[in-house]
C-alpha cells in the first residue's frame, strides 16, 4: 500500500500539486482574454561596463545604426533581431548620495534620494529613494485591472545580494522610503511560488505513515476513549483521500512544469552561476504560470564585489572596476565579467524563447522585454552618463537589430517610454524636471 502511494506521488509529482494554484488564477480563469500579455524583466548588473567593447558604433551625426555586437554583447547574437541597444541615456538625478547610491536608487525611480545617514565614498549621505520605481508602478497598474491581475503582480529576484538593506542593495521601491527586498535564495523563492503546493504534497506523503502510531496507541486506551482516536483516524483517512483526489485531478491539467531545483546549494559566491540558473528557471516558470508579468532580476548590488573564480578572476568585481583603463589585466577582466553577465541575459532570453507563449502565438520572449541595465556607465569614472540599456524581446513592441543613440537624454524619458509601451502613458515619471520632452522619440 505504502509503496504504491509513493509511486503515485512520484508519478504525479509536485508539478501536479502546483497546478492547483495555476487553476485558481484569475487571469487563467478568463481564458481567451489572456493572449495579449506584455511582460517586463529588468536585469541589473553592477559597476558599469567597458564602453568600447559594449556599445555598437553609431556615427556622431546619426541617431541609429544597424546593431553591431562587440565582445561583451556577443552572447546576444541569437537574439539579434529582438535586440536594441540604447546609448545616450543619462541618469541626471542630483541631490544626496554618492554615485553608486544614486546610480541604483534613482535608476528605476528617476527621483532624488531622501537625506539620510548612509555615507558613500563621496558626496553627501542619503537615505532611501523619494519615489516609486517603474517596475512597482507597472505592477500596481496591472494589478488594478482584473484582466491583467496576477497572483503576485511582480516578482523581485536577486542573485548574491548581500544580506543587508541599504541604498546600494535596493533598486525597487513600492513608494517613497519603501524599498523592496529582492529574494536571492532560490529555495525561498520556490517556497514563495510553490510552497503551499509543496506542503500539500508533503502532507500526502506522511499521512500513511501515521497508521502505525494510531494502531499502537489504540491498544492502550479504553473502549470509551477509543472513540476519539477512531474519529481522529477517520479524519486522517478523509484528508488522505481528498488529497489523492486533488492531486490526481491535476495530473490531467498540468499547465506547466515546475522547475526541479538541485538540492542543498548554499548561498555563496562560487555557486553564483548555479544560483543564477536556478533563479532564471523559476522566473521563466512563474511567467509561464502567469504568477506575475513584471520582474526584477538583480545580480549582486550596486558596488557588487562578486569574485568570478569560475572565470579565473580572483579579485572582486568592484575593486577591479576602479582600475584605470591602462591596467590591461583589469581591463580584460572587466570585459570578461561583463560578458558573463551578458551570457546570463542571453540564457534568460533563450529560456523564454524556448517556451511557447501559453494560450498564444510564438514564444514567451515575443511577449516579454528584458531590459539589462547598470548603475553606472563606466566603473572607474563613476559616470551615470550613457547608462547601459540593452533591450531583448518583443514585449514592448520595439523593433530589434538596432543601435540607437539618444545623445545625452535624461533616463526619465526612457522610464516614461517603458510605461507608455506597457499601456500606461504618463506625463512624467520621477522628477518632472527631467521629463519635459516626453517619451523618447525615434524608438
Amino acid at each position: 500500500m505504502r509503496q504504491s502511494r509513493r509511486r503515485f506521488l512520484k508519478q504525479t509529482g509536485i508539478s501536479a500539486a502546483v497546478a492547483h494554484f495555476a487553476l485558481n488564477l484569475p487571469s487563467l480563469a478568463l481564458g481567451a482574454e489572456t493572449s495579449e500579455r506584455k511582460r517586463l524583466v529588468i536585469v541589473f548588473s553592477p559597476n558599469g561596463v567597458i564602453p568600447d567593447h559594449f556599445w555598437p558604433t553609431v556615427g556622431e551625426k546619426e541617431n541609429e545604426a544597424p546593431l553591431e555586437l562587440k565582445r561583451i554583447l556577443q552572447p546576444l547574437e541569437p537574439f539579434r533581431d529582438q535586440t536594441v541597444t540604447m546609448h545616450g541615456l543619462c541618469n541626471q538625478i542630483k541631490g544626496d548620495g554618492d554615485g553608486h547610491m544614486r546610480g541604483i536608487g534613482c535608476l528605476l525611480t528617476g527621483v532624488e534620494l531622501f537625506p539620510g545617514d548612509i555615507q558613500g565614498g563621496s558626496d553627501t549621505p542619503a537615505g532611501w529613494s523619494q519615489g516609486i520605481s517603474i517596475d512597482q508602478f507597472l505592477k500596481n497598474q496591472l494589478q488594478a485591472d482584473a484582466r491583467t491581475r496576477t497572483r503576485f503582480g511582480s516578482l523581485e529576484f536577486g542573485v548574491m545580494v548581500p544580506d543587508r538593506a541599504d541604498t546600494w542593495t535596493r533598486m525597487s521601491y513600492s513608494g517613497p522610503n519603501q524599498p523592496v527586498a529582492p529574494i536571492d535564495d532560490p529555495y525561498k523563492m520556490f517556497d514563495k511560488l510553490y510552497g503551499q503546493a509543496k506542503n500539500r504534497e508533503l502532507l500526502a506523503s506522511v499521512l500513511d505513515d501515521l497508521t502505525d502510531d494510531f494502531k499502537k496507541l489504540e491498544k492502550m486506551v479504553s473502549a470509551e476513549d477509543r472513540r476519539l482516536l477512531e474519529q481522529h483516524q477517520a479524519l486522517v483517512r478523509k484528508v488522505e483521500k481528498d488529497l489523492k483526489v486533488e492531486l490526481a485531478a491535476q495530473t490531467d491539467q498540468i499547465g506547466h512544469a515546475v522547475p526541479e531545483l538541485p538540492p542543498n546549494i548554499e548561498d555563496q559566491n562560487d555557486n553564483m552561476p548555479e544560483i543564477t540558473r536556478m533563479q532564471i528557471e523559476l522566473l521563466v516558470n512563474s511567467f509561464a504560470a502567469d504568477f506575475a508579468r513584471v520582474a526584477t532580476f538583480q545580480i549582486t548590488n550596486s558596488v557588487g564585489g562578486a569574485k568570478m573564480r569560475w572565470l579565473d578572476i580572483n579579485e572582486g568585481h568592484h575593486a577591479i572596476s576602479h582600475e584605470p583603463d591602462s591596467n590591461e589585466t583589469s581591463y580584460e577582466n572587466l570585459i570578461q565579467i561583463n560578458t558573463w553577465y551578458c551570457e546570463q541575459v542571453a540564457m534568460l532570453a533563450r529560456r523564454l524563447s524556448e517556451t511557447p507563449e501559453p494560450g498564444g502565438e510564438g514564444s514567451m520572449l515575443d511577449n516579454t522585454t528584458i531590459i539589462w541595465t547598470n548603475e553606472l556607465g563606466k566603473g572607474n569614472s563613476h559616470t551615470r552618463d550613457n547608462i547601459p540599456f540593452v533591450l531583448v524581446g518583443g514585449g514592448l513592441g520595439i523593433k530589434g537589430n538596432r543601435a540607437i543613440d539618444f545623445k545625452r537624454t535624461p533616463h526619465n524619458r526612457f522610464l516614461m517610454t517603458v510605461a507608455e509601451r506597457m499601456g500606461f502613458p504618463q506625463n512624467s515619471f520621477g522628477n518632472p524636471d527631467f521629463c519635459g520632452d516626453g517619451v523618447l522619440t525615434g524608438v
Binding site: 541599504d166 541604498t167 508533503l202 505513515d209 501515521l210
Partner: protein
C-alpha cells in the same frame, strides 16, 4: 452590549397525569418507615411517571434529569408549593420533605450523581493552547528555556545597555555600560549622557549603542512592537537571525516602525537593538529612540521595565498560526473532539515549526557541534532523534526515532525536506497529540508529562527535568513534590495562573467595556487598560508573595493603582506611601479602605464587566458570584429577558427595578439565590466607582446566601460579602475544585470521590496557600 437576563430556572416542570396520581395516592403506605423510604414510595407513586423512576426524565412529559444543588429544605419547599403540578396540595409538609430527602440522596445532588456515575478520566488531545506551548518548549529544548522565577521577575528588570563613542568597539571607546530600565531616549545632538546627566565622553555626532535582553510575555495574544527612531538601527527579535526591523539606512521621514506578532505567555523573547549614529558631512541631525508596545487589550506605552529582562535570553519560537478555539463548556478548555479545521491548523502550526527548525534550530545545532566528527547526515539524524524523544515524551530507547528518520531520508534528498518530513510525521502523530496515552512509557516519563501538563500546559523540555526523568527520578512522592515545587516558580505557571483568573473573573482583552460617555466621563480606553494591569498586578502580588493567601484575593482591603486610576477613582485609589516597596512599575498598592476595596470582588474591571452600559447589573454580578465564586449550579434561564429600561422607571433604583422584574414566583426559584448576592455589590456603579446613593436614594446593599448545608447568611455591604466569601467552605471548595479542573482539565472526582474534600482540607490547613495548592494538584494528577 445587550445581554440576556439570567432568569427563572424551573427545574421541575411536570405535567402529571391526574388519573394516575389520584389512583396511586391511595396506595401510599401508612406504616412507619424512614423518611427516605417514605420518600421513595411517594416518588414512585406521584412523580415517577413524569420524572422517570430514577429521576432521569421521560420523553413525553419532563425530559430533563432531576439534577441540581438545591438543599433538601429548598427542594421540600418547592415540592410543597408546586408538586404534583396538577394538585400541589397533594404532597406537602412531611411528605414533601420525605420526597426531597429521598431524591436528594438518591440521584438529585452532586454527591449522588458522583456515586451513581463516577466521573472518569476522559481521553483528551492537546488543546490549541497546549499545542502552542508544547511547540514553544520543544523549540526551547535545544536553546534551553530561561526560567524566570518570581524573585528574578521582581529584581531583574530593564535591558543591558552599552554605549560607544565613535565607530569602533575598543574598550576605551566604551563610555557607558549599564542597565537601562526602559528604552526611551532623546539624545539630541549632544549624544548619550550618564544617568546623572553628566558628560560621558560620547560624541553626539558619531556613536553607537546596543540594548539586549528579553521581553517578558505574560499573556498569550497579539502584540504590536513599535520602535521610533530618528537614527539608524536594527532590531532583532526571537532569534539572532530574525531581524524584526531593519533601519540600517536612516532616511528622512521614516521614523516609526510597527510590527504585529502573536506571542506565547510565560516566555521571554530575546530582543536586541543596535543603534548607530553616523557622522555626516554637514549637520548631523539629533538622535532618538524609543521601544513601545501595545499588549492585548492595552494601549500603546513605552515597554515598562518590569517586562524587560537584562542578560541572556535564549531564542524563542514565534508561532503565527492561530489554533481554533476548544470546547469550554466546563469553564476550562478541553481537547475532546477533532475536526478538519483543527487538523488543518495543526498541520500549518507544525509546518511553521518545521520551517523554524530548518532556519534556526538546525543551524544552531550544527554550530554547537562544530567539533563533532560525525558526518553531516549523522548529525542531522541525531538532531531529529533528540527532537522526537521530547515530542513523543520518551527515552531514546522507547522513542524509536529511527523509524521516522529512515522514512524521511528515503523519501527526500534535500536536507530541509528531510527535516520537514520528519517533523510533520512526528508532530502529526497521536504520540505527540495525545500526551496521556503513554502506558508503554516509563513511570518517570508518565509522571513528568502529567506534572508539566498541569503546571505549564506543555511537555518536559527543560534539560534538568529531562535528565531527572531519564534517570527515573520522577517517581515517588518526595521526588514528584520536589519537581512540582521547582515547576511552580516559573513564568509559565504564572501565565497559566493568570489565564485561570481571567477565565474565572470572565475578563478578556477583547471585552468592550465602553460605558455611557456622559454618565461616566473619563472612563476611556486608557483607564480600562490601567484597570487590566491593576487587576493583573493585584493577582500577581497576592498569589506570588510569601503567603499566597486566597483570602487576600477575596477580601484584601487594598488594590493596585496608577496615577490615572487615582485621578478617576479618587482618594481610596491613592497610593499608600508605606507600601511603595511593593510597587510594580507605575502600579502600587493603594491606601487601605475596607469598604471600597474587597479583593477582586469589587475590582472596577470586574464591576464594569458585570454591568450594563448605564447601570449596574446585580443579576450578572449575582450569577457570577453564585456560579464562579460559590461554585453552585444554576440551570440556564428558559428564555432571554431584556432588562427593564431605567427610562421607564425613572424613580426606581436598580435594585428596585430588578426586584420588580424578578418578582413572579416562577422567577424567584433562582433569583432568590442570585439577587441577594448581586445586590451586595450595589455600592459599585457600572464603572466600579463607590457610591452612596442612586437617583437620590441611598444604596441598599443588603443581601444573603444559603449554603449547601442550609445555613443562612446575611450581609449588609460588599465588605461583609467579601469576609464571608473568604471564610465560606462553599467558596473555598469551589475555588479548589476550579483550580484543579483548570490545571488538570479533568474533574477532581475522577481521581477519587474523597479527593476534593481532602484537598480542600489541606488548603485550609496551609492557611489557604494558593501556590501550595498548585503543587498538591500536580501531585494528585501525577499519582498512579
Amino acid at each position: 452590549m445587550k445581554q440576556p437576563f439570567y432568569a427563572l430556572t424551573l427545574f421541575l416542570l411536570p405535567i402529571m397525569l391526574s388519573v394516575n396520581a389520584a389512583a396511586d395516592s391511595t396506595t401510599v403506605t401508612e406504616s412507619v418507615e424512614t423518611a427516605e423510604q417514605t420518600g421513595a414510595t411517594i416518588f414512585a407513586a406521584q412523580c415517577a411517571s413524569c420524572h422517570g423512576p430514577q429521576g432521569q426524565g421521560t420523553q413525553e412529559n419532563y425530559p430533563d434529569p432531576l439534577h441540581g444543588d438545591a438543599s433538601v429544605g429548598e427542594l421540600a419547599e418547592l415540592i410543597t408549593d408546586t408538586m404534583p403540578e396538577e394538585d400541589p396540595d397533594l404532597c406537602v409538609g412531611e411528605d414533601a420533605t420525605a420526597v426531597a430527602t429521598y431524591i436528594h440522596e438518591t440521584f438529585y445532588s452532586e454527591a449522588a450523581q458522583l456515586r451513581n456515575r463516577p466521573p472518569r478520566l476522559a481521553l483528551q488531545r492537546l488543546t490549541g493552547d497546549q499545542l502552542r506551548r508544547s511547540l514553544s518548549d520543544l523549540y526551547g529544548v535545544f536553546a534551553q528555556v530561561r526560567r524566570d522565577t518570581w524573585s528574578e521577575r521582581q529584581t531583574q528588570q530593564g535591558l543591558d545597555a552599552v554605549y560607544y563613542t565613535g565607530t569602533k568597539w575598543n574598550g576605551e571607546d566604551r563610555k557607558i555600560q549599564r542597565i537601562d530600565p526602559v528604552v526611551d531616549f532623546d539624545f539630541g545632538v549632544d549624544g548619550p549622557k550618564n544617568v546623572d546627566g553628566s558628560d560621558a565622553g560620547i560624541n553626539g555626532e558619531s556613536f553607537h549603542a546596543h540594548w539586549s535582553g528579553g521581553i517578558r510575555i505574560e499573556q498569550t495574544g497579539r502584540y504590536e512592537i513599535i520602535v521610533r527612531s530618528t537614527t539608524s538601527f536594527e532590531c532583532k527579535f526571537g532569534h539572532d537571525r530574525n531581524q524584526l526591523i531593519d533601519n540600517h539606512v536612516q532616511s528622512e521621514g521614516r521614523n516609526e516602525f510597527r510590527r504585529m506578532l502573536t506571542l506565547t505567555g510565560g516566555r521571554i523573547y530575546p530582543i536586541k537593538i543596535n543603534l548607530n549614529q553616523r557622522k555626516r558631512k554637514g549637520e548631523t541631525p539629533p538622535s532618538s529612540i524609543s521601544l513601545s508596545w501595545v499588549t492585548p487589550g492595552g494601549v500603546e506605552e513605552i515597554i515598562p521595565a518590569r517586562f524587560l529582562v537584562p542578560g541572556w535570553a535564549p531564542p524563542a519560537l514565534r508561532l503565527t498560526t492561530q489554533m481554533p478555539p476548544d470546547d469550554r463548556t466546563y469553564g476550562f478548555q478541553r481537547g475532546i473532539s477533532v475536526d478538519p479545521t483543527w487538523d488543518d491548523s495543526v498541520t500549518s502550526a507544525v509546518l511553521e515549526f518545521a520551517d523554524r527548525a530548518c532556519d534556526e534550530l538546525w543551524p544552531d545545532y550544527r554550530n554547537h557541534h562544530k567539533k563533532d566528527k560525525r558526518s553531516r547526515d549523522d548529525l542531522l539524524r541525531n538532531f531529529l532523534s533528540e527532537l522526537i524523544c521530547v515530542a513523543h515524551r520518551a527515552t531514546p530507547e522507547q522513542a524509536q526515532a529511527d523509524r521516522m528518520i529512515d522514512a524521511a531520508f528515503a523519501a527526500n534528498e534535500a536536507e530541509t525536506d528531510r527535516i520537514r518530513y520528519t517533523i510533520l510525521l512526528a508532530l502529526k502523530s497521536p504520540r505527540f497529540l495525545y500526551p496521556t496515552i503513554n502506558a508503554d512509557r516509563t513511570r518517570s516519563w508518565r509522571a513528568g508529562v502529567q506534572l508539566t501538563l498541569a503546571m505549564h500546559d506543555s511537555l518536559p523540555s527543560d534539560r534538568w527535568l529531562i535528565d531527572a526523568i531519564n534517570k527515573e527520578e520522577v517517581d515517588n512522592e518526595p521526588q514528584r513534590r520536589r519537581i512540582a515545587t521547582q515547576l511552580v516558580d516559573d513564568a509559565r505557571t504564572r501565565a497559566k495562573v493568570r489565564e485561570m483568573f481571567h477565565h474565572w473573573l470572565d475578563v478578556s482583552p477583547t471585552d468592550d467595556l465602553r460605558k455611557d460617555e456622559e454618565r461616566f466621563a473619563g472612563f476611556d480606553v486608557n483607564v480600562v487598560a490601567d484597570l487590566r494591569q491593576s487587576l493583573d498586578t493585584f493577582i500577581d502580588s497576592v498569589v506570588w508573595n510569601e503567603t499566597s493567601d486566597y483570602r487576600q484575593l477575596m477580601a484584601a482591603d487594598w488594590a493596585m493603582t496608577s496615577p490615572r486610576l487615582t485621578d478617576f477613582y479618587g482618594d481610596a485609589w491613592k497610593p499608600c506611601a508605606d507600601d511603595a516597596d511593593k510597587a510594580m512599575g507605575r502600579f502600587q498598592p493603594t491606601v487601605r479602605d475596607s469598604n471600597i476595596h474587597v479583593g477582586v470582588l469589587t475590582h472596577p474591571l470586574v464591576m464594569a464587566k458585570f454591568a450594563h452600559h448605564q447601570t449596574t447589573s446585580p443579576i450578572h454580578r449575582g450569577v457570577f458570584l453564585i456560579r464562579h465564586v460559590m461554585g453552585r449550579t444554576l440551570r440556564p434561564p428558559n428564555s432571554a429577558f431584556a432588562p427593564l429600561s431605567p427610562d421607564l422607571h425613572p424613580d426606581l433604583t436598580t435594585r428596585q427595578r430588578i426586584e420588580l422584574q424578578t418578582s413572579p414566583a416562577s422567577c424567584q426559584i433562582c433569583h432568590t439565590k442570585i439577587n441577594p448576592l448581586g445586590f451586595a455589590l450595589e455600592h459599585f456603579d457600572a464603572v466600579g466607582r463607590y457610591r452612596e446613593s442612586e437617583n437620590g436614594k441611598p444604596i441598599d446593599a443588603s443581601g444573603g446566601y444559603t449554603s449547601r448545608d442550609d445555613e443562612e447568611f446575611s450581609f449588609e455591604t460588599a465588605r461583609q460579602l467579601g469576609d464571608f466569601v473568604a471564610s465560606s467552605p462553599d467558596a473555598q471548595n469551589a475555588f479548589v475544585s476550579r483550580v484543579f479542573q483548570y490545571f488538570v482539565k479533568q474533574p477532581i472526582a475522577a481521581y477519587g470521590p474523597e479527593k476534593l474534600d481532602r484537598l480542600s482540607e489541606q488548603f485550609r490547613q496551609s492557611e489557604f496557600n494558593i501556590r501550595k495548592l498548585l503543587i498538591e494538584v500536580a501531585l494528585i494528577c501525577s499519582e498512579e
